[in-house]
């Protein structure tokens, strides 16, 4: 494996940073080189959040280039679309269906875009998309569910161990 690039996108508070950190920790436990990129501070207050996880010997920076993501984990449909430039036709997109309307929509009395429209736009980048029911299931975030099947170099055993570890070590 030369390089594995993941992009995680969602809204501040959904656990994007935590999921990226769990994946990064799993990679370190597998003895791999990894970079996890994130933005804190101002960006946290309900704003759009994006994290990257890059795994590979020759990985130096946390930046994923356009069209170079192997895997996009979208926690929220609009935010998945906002980061779709990282996808190519080979990218696997896993998207949760919990819609969080941006305040701008509410203020302008506009509806959240139709899921059909969002999917159509996403498919202009990758047709390889799996929709996961996350609405009303906060306790089961999509992280890890499909990871090994799609060649993510962290096995379920470590993810399970990490889950226990993180429950012990993290407050969120």
């Amino acid at each position: 494996m030369k390089e594995f690039n993941l992009v995680l996108a969602g809204v501040g508070g959904q656990g994007v940073l935590l999921a990226a950190e769990i994946l990064g920790t799993a990679a370190v436990k597998e003895g791999l080189n990894v970079r996890v990129g994130e933005i804190h501070g101002m960006a946290q207050r309900g704003g759009a959040t994006v994290s990257t996880v890059r795994i590979g010997e020759k990985v130096f920076s946390p930046f994923v280039l356009n069209g170079q993501a192997n895997f996009i984990l979208g926690f929220e449909p609009l935010e998945t679309l906002r980061n779709i430039k990282y996808a190519s036709e080979k990218t696997l997109v896993i998207m949760g269906d919990e819609k969080i309307p941006p305040p701008e929509l509410t203020l302008k009395n506009m509806d959240y875009p139709q899921m059909k429209e969002i999917l159509k736009k996403i498919k202009r980048f990758s047709k390889n998309i799996t929709l996961v029911e996350t609405y009303g299931r906060r306790e089961n975030p999509p992280a890890g569910a499909h990871s090994e099947k799609h060649g993510l170099p962290a096995n379920e055993r470590n993810l399970e161990k990490d889950k226990a570890l993180f429950q012990k070590h993290y407050t969120c």
Binding site: V11, G12, A20, E21, G24, T25, A27, V28, G31, N33, V34, R35, V36, G37, E38, I39, H40, G41, M42, A43, Q44, R45, G46, G47, A48, K58, F60, S61, P62, F63, L65, N66, G67, Q68, L78, E79, L81, R82, I84, K85, P101, P102, P103, E104, L105, T106, L107, N109, M110, D111, P113, I122, R124, F125, R138, K168, H169, Y170, T171, C172
Partner: protein, 627 residues
């Protein structure tokens, strides 16, 4: 946040995923640093926070100082007694601390002392993107620049050692991308910190009156020469990947180095890269030799052409025929904003005439088509934030015409519609300062909006100025009992210290009275009627008045209730709702949304502050029944 106790594990050789800032905290423990001071600020905050959580166990003294210059003074005082120290701050914090640091460079230190400056290219959480490497040039202090978490830890230790060797403070300069990137870090041994020092009286060395300062300037310049020798031999300044192609060579540092390596690889450029980790003073001979060996040298760096300016000066003496590319004469790379692999790819392709491996134009065009009209999602005040109530009161009472001079903190988000509070903002504390000039030169009501932590940081001298010079302003201290934006650090109004011990709270009311303010009131902003009446009265007062809008940060309230096993009493819309939208148009609370055109309260987001219920003209918002 991660459990900081991971940082205390004394397992030499253990490999752990750490954030750049956590790696610096680990470096503090391995270097045996005894005194750590900080004022929180993104992207530096996690350095102090990680140490604060483990300070008593680690035997380190840690404090959240009232501001950055005090933080430098406290640690520099300790370092002058032979105890190792470190102060962490964001880039603009160094502006506050600069007065101390510039002359501390003359006085020097006995125990190793490191000043961490975390710069913020792209202004992710800052008011500017100044390049603090120039502080190293200005002060003559040595500067190290890590490019990843491992280096961040290692360079913290090296910085202490260099500082002790030269008896000078040393700068450790990170950027957001270094401070907030996680990567594997291999642990070294923890060194038990020494906290006890001794003060050796030496007026000529330590008291900077002119007669002593003049010779100390020369002492400093001699130390820079010694630092140059260290830089020439430093393992952080090295040539990586000996390429066959001697036509081109790259010089880079910090995050830019990561982008340069990846971009060169993507372009198939097998070239030498001179990686600079000690960027002040620069290794002149090493750079000179590198310039001699290559016909064309490309300097890849973020923000200002700090390296390029100096590399060009060195080239004049060592290799006048070598071409130096960067951003000065011809801008091959951007001088503003965060650098990226993409920007470096484009610049390098342009210089070397190679073809880009990715069709950015095609992807961009397709991307623009799918995201045009996509609603933006800027950060907003949280659901239940007491600032929203304060701003609602200000808008209602003082209205559109009043000038709102605002400050640095969560409340800066008040500029977003529909609250629209915040007409001018530059730096910590300036809300009160600028309000005075605005009030003096206009007939307008002027309200200075400042947070509790910012008030202690730098509001107090401005308040004294306002009172003494009879400026007619209203100072609105939005006191949410914490330093919220940076992660809930304590300040003198909270009653907690960086060592997580209890201290007597300093009351903002008493401070204001002590500064001479004759009209001081405290209100709970959720008590809308009382808050409105109080603000009206303040606006009628002919001199400086001060209102403290006090209610705890909503995030703290929710956390506290969860910890106690108490649920959050959320609100709901009842049948009286006429869909008049007053709640939405006046408050802009993220928990109030429209579902198929009908006002709805998002149960997962509502924190039960009840502000919407207070403003609803039809009593159509009521609490949900609690269990």
């Amino acid at each position: 946040m991660p459990n900081p106790h991971v940082l205390l594990q004394d397992e030499h050789g253990k490999r752990v995923l750490l954030l750049g800032n956590e790696a610096i905290a680990r470096g503090i423990l391995e270097a045996g640093i005894g005194v750590v001071t900080t004022y929180p600020g993104t992207p530096a905050s996690e350095i102090g926070d990680s140490i604060s959580a483990i300070a008593s166990e680690a035997g380190v003294y840690m404090e959240y100082s009232v501001n950055e210059i005090v933080a430098v003074e406290v640690a520099a005082g300790a370092a002058n007694c032979g105890v190792r120290g470190l102060t962490a701050m964001k880039h603009v914090g160094l502006n506050v601390a600069a007065d101390a640091l510039m002359t501390l460079a003359y006085v020097g230190v006995r125990g190793g002392y490191v000043v961490v400056t975390a710069d913020d290219p792209e202004c992710y959480s800052s008011q500017n993107e100044q390049d603090n490497r120039f502080y190293a040039l200005l002060s003559n202090l040595p500067c190290l620049e890590p490019s990843n978490p491992q280096e961040a830890k290692d360079m913290t230790i090296s910085a202490v050692e260099i500082s002790e060797k030269l008896e000078l403070p040393v700068m450790l300069r990170t950027t957001t991308r270094v401070s907030h990137t996680r990567g594997p870090v291999v642990y070294g041994k923890i060194t038990k910190p020494r906290l006890k020092g001794s003060f050796i009286k030496d007026v000529e060395r330590l008291v900077m009156v002119p007669a002593n300062s003049r010779p100390k300037h020369d002492v400093l310049l001699r130390a820079v020469e010694k630092a140059k020798e260290i830089s020439e031999k430093s393992p952080y300044n090295k040539i990586i990947s000996k390429g066959k192609n001697k036509e081109y060579g790259l010089i880079s540092s910090s995050s830019a180095y990561n982008y340069a390596v990846e971009a060169a690889e993507l372009l198939g450029l097998t070239v030498d890269i001179l990686k600079l980790g000690m960027t002040h003073p620069l290794p002149e001979k090493l750079i000179g030799q590198f310039l001699k060996e290559h016909k064309k040298v490309v300097v890849v760096e973020e923000l200002e052409p700090y390296l390029e300016m100096q590399v060009k000066t060195i080239a004049k003496d060592y290799a006048p025929t070598t071409e130096v590319y960067g951003k000065m004469r011809q801008p091959h790379f951007p001088r503003s904003g965060e650098l990226s692999t993409r920007a470096v790819l484009i610049g390098l392709a342009d210089i070397t005439g190679r073809k880009l491996p990715i069709n950015f134009q095609e992807i961009d065009a397709r991307y623009v088509e799918v995201v045009t009209g996509l609603p933006s999602r800027p950060p907003v005040l949280c659901a239940g934030c007491p600032h929203r109530a304060s701003f609602y009161v200000m808008r209602k009472v003082a209205g559109e015409k009043a000038v709102y001079s605002t400050d640095i903190g969560c409340y800066t988000l008040g500029i977003e519609p529909p609250l629209n509070i915040g007409d001018i903002m530059i730096c910590m504390g300036a809300s009160i300062g600028m309000a005075q000039g605005i009030s003096k030169t206009t007939e307008t009501n002027t309200i200075a909006v400042i947070g509790d932590s910012t008030f202690f940081h730098s509001g107090i001298p401005r308040l004294v100025n306002a009172v003494y010079n009879n400026h007619r302003i209203v100072v609105a201290v939005l006191d949410n009992l914490t330093t919220a934006m940076t992660g809930h650090q304590p300040h003198p109004g909270t009653g907690v210290t960086g060592m997580q011990t209890v201290s007597e709270r300093i009351a903002i009311e008493k401070v204001a009275e002590g500064c001479g303010v004759k009209w001081v009131r405290t209100v709970n902003p959720f008590n809308i009627k009382e808050a409105e009446e109080t603000l009206k009265e303040a606006l009628r007062y002919p001199r400086t008045s001060l209102i403290i809008f006090r209610a705890p940060c909503a995030l703290m309230v929710v956390r506290e209730r969860r910890r106690k096993g108490l649920g959050v009493a959320t609100y709901r819309i009842n049948e009286k709702c006429t869909n008049c939208m007053v709640c939405i148009k006046m408050l802009g609370c993220p928990a109030i949304t429209l579902e198929k055109g009908k006002v709805n309260i998002h149960e997962n987001l509502c924190t039960g502050c009840g502000l919407c219920a207070s403003v609803c003209p039809y009593k159509a918002i009521e609490p949900n029944a609690t269990d």
